[in-house]
């Protein structure tokens, strides 16, 4: 196995003085499905945002595939977001004016992928997440579980190295949650995509290859 990412002593202090991350160090192998367990406010979202290039650390080092990420270089961060990561959110965050397939295609527009190509890739992924019958539905016509499946397909559409999931089952009932977790496990196994899943749900975390626990911005053994 090769190292996908490593964090060393990552700090993030907000302007109001809150230390969201207080020296976090984590390593992740390629193809691993890691869950990060912590209460709300423990810093797990901040960790995901930094890994996804949406936030920047105030100290420490973040490396992907052995190379340090330079958070000051906007172009590098944009390319990092486009090429390496896919996001899944608690609120699903689908665009309400677009159908399921258009939502899945959307990230590819910023990557300059031609329309026909986008369409076929999105269709394959929607089939894989079990929504082949609902590709022309709008988000409001889909259940929570279905919306999250669309979001998973969207996270995968740009062939990322890692999917960063922030409380992916936080808005779903337990039966649906189980289905979503199974889907992520299945995709991880079949496609070899790494998953980094932030959750406060111990049952969900238990299905990961490895569990990291975070509290008050520090990793707990």
């Amino acid at each position: 196995m090769t190292t996908l990412l490593s964090l060393e002593g990552v700090m993030r202090v907000y302007q109001n003085g809150v230390k969201a991350l207080d020296g976090v160090s984590v390593n992740m192998e390629r193809g691993e499905l890691v869950s990060i367990l912590g209460k709300s406010g423990s810093g797990k979202s901040t960790l995901l945002h930094i890994l996804g290039g949406l936030d920047r650390p105030d100290g420490g080092m973040v490396s992907f595939e052995g190379r340090e990420l330079n958070f000051r270089n906007r172009d590098e961060i944009i390319m990092h977001r486009r090429k390496r990561v896919g996001f899944i959110f608690q609120q699903f965050n689908l665009l309400p004016s677009m159908t399921a397939i258009e939502n899945v295609e959307y990230p590819l527009i910023f990557r300059g992928v031609p329309r026909s190509d986008r369409h076929s890739r999105a269709r394959v992924l929607l089939e894989q997440v079990g929504l082949s019958g609902r590709i022309e539905h709008y988000p409001k016509e889909l259940s929570g579980g279905e919306q999250q499946r669309v979001a998973i397909a969207r996270a995968l559409v740009s062939d990322p190295l890692i999917v960063l999931a922030d409380e992916p089952t936080g808005n779903l009932d337990s039966a649906t949650s189980a289905g979503i977790v199974s889907l992520m496990r299945e995709i991880n196994r079949e496609r070899g995509v790494s998953f980094f899943i932030a959750t406060h749900d111990r049952d969900l975390a238990a299905r990961a290859d490895r569990i990291c626990t975070i509290a008050d911005g520090r990793m707990v053994a």
Partner: protein
């Protein structure tokens, strides 16, 4: 690249569709601004065209009178060699060097005298003799303008073919007039032409020169050009040669200068409504950026760069501008035709029949370049108005934006 732009355009149209009413109001705002500017400019252009037509119809536009002038501190007299020079100016079709003087009849009627070569002046002024014949060169014969001939015949007993004494008015050293009598023979009266030559006495140039001792060169050169469009060019050339150039065309130049100022002032006032239109776009886009904060944040998380976000906002502005511009053009065309169909008869009925020559067939004139300019202004305005909202959108923090 263009396919990608098309994708962004499709998305922008869809976003606009989600707020139809506000888009409609904004588009109306721009349209009214554009229509107001185009409407006032077209009205001004219409008035300009009518004024020029009126002058053109009533005056001899292709005639220029070149007189001695000044250029860079040097005086330029009209000498035989400068007459040759003037003849070689492009578009000059005929010319006649003239001497001017003023005589008086025995009853003290003022007689403006023009001394010229008979053939040259006939050609330049297109003289038509109504009664009698043209004078011959080297003689003391003369032709009279229609008004002058009529007057002298009626009140002073002048007869065609009979000698008629006239006074050459000179002034002595103390400035007192001193008249000297000479005899000329009127041989013809010209057709009426509605200009100052109707009251002129036209003689052979040698005769006038002999009576006007001590002058070098000529007083003026009358010049004929091909058509009224060439006049300005010839006048420009003459001025460059150091001569003054005058004629009815100067009225058109004056009207054009005046109308340029009037139209500019009109347009500035109408432009205020354009500024309002621009502020409306800025406002609409600020609200729309605010409303779409979450979508923008999501887009950034999904890989949209700041430039992509700016482009999203500016494309919406571009679409608003194009719609507003097209609607404004349509409104101004409608306004203009209403003005011509309804406004013109109304105005004429108020002013009375004698003004029917004014406002020939249209009160308001819209030209294709004006329409293109209208659309261009709408587009530029909308993009300018979108810069700040676009900048604000691009600077959003994706995490904060997604939380909203």
């Amino acid at each position: 690249m263009s396919a990608m732009l098309l994708d962004h355009l499709t998305l922008a149209i869809r976003r606009l569709k989600t707020r139809k009413v506000r888009v409609l109001l904004t588009v109306l705002g721009i349209a009214i601004g554009i229509a107001a500017v185009l409407g006032t400019v077209s009205l001004g252009e219409g008035i300009r065209m009518q004024a020029v037509e009126t002058i053109r119809a009533s005056s001899d536009l292709t005639l220029i009178e070149a007189t001695p002038g000044n250029l860079d501190g040097t005086s330029y007299l009209i000498t035989p060699s400068s007459v040759e020079h003037i003849r070689s100016v492009p578009y000059v079709t005929a010319s006649s060097a003239i001497l001017k003087d003023s005589y008086a009849s025995q009853h003290q009627t003022y007689l403006p005298v023009i001394g010229a070569d008979d053939e040259e002046i006939s050609k330049v002024l297109d003289l038509r003799v109504e009664t009698g014949r043209m004078y011959t060169s080297g003689s003391a014969e003369a032709v009279l303008g229609a008004d002058l001939g009529e007057y002298l015949r009626r009140y002073e007993g002048m007869q065609i073919g009979s000698p008629f004494p006239v006074m050459v008015r000179e002034y002595d050293d103390e400035g007192r007039p001193r008249d000297r009598e000479i005899a000329i023979t009127p041989v013809g009266i010209l057709s009426p032409r509605d200009d100052r030559y109707d009251s002129a006495l036209i003689l052979d140039r040698e005769l006038v020169a002999a009576e006007k001792s001590g002058q070098q060169g000529f007083d003026a050169v009358l010049i004929r050009t091909g058509d009224h469009l060439e006049v300005a060019e010839v006048a420009g050339d003459l001025r460059e040669l150091g001569f003054s150039a005058g004629g009815a065309f100067e009225q058109i130049e004056a009207v054009n200068r005046f109308m340029d100022v009037v139209i500019l002032i009109f347009a500035i006032f109408a432009g205020v409504s354009l500024v309002v239109g621009g502020l409306m776009i800025a406002n609409t886009m600020m609200i729309s950026v605010y409303e779409q904060t979450r979508e923008i944040g999501i887009s950034m998380a999904l890989g949209a760069a700041e430039g992509d976000v700016m482009r999203m906002v500016l494309l919406e502005c571009l679409l608003l501008g194009i719609m507003g511009g097209v609607a404004g053009i349509a409104a101004s065309l409608a306004f203009s035709s209403v003005l011509n169909v309804v406004g013109r008869p109304l105005l004429l009925s108020r002013l009375g029949g004698e003004f029917s020559g004014l406002f020939g067939d249209s009160l308001s004139v819209i030209t294709p370049p004006m329409l293109i300019a209208g659309l261009g202004i709408a587009i530029v305005l909308s993009l300018l108005s979108g810069i700040y909202p676009a900048y604000r959108a691009a600077r959003l923090d994706p995490i904060e934006a997604m939380r909203s």
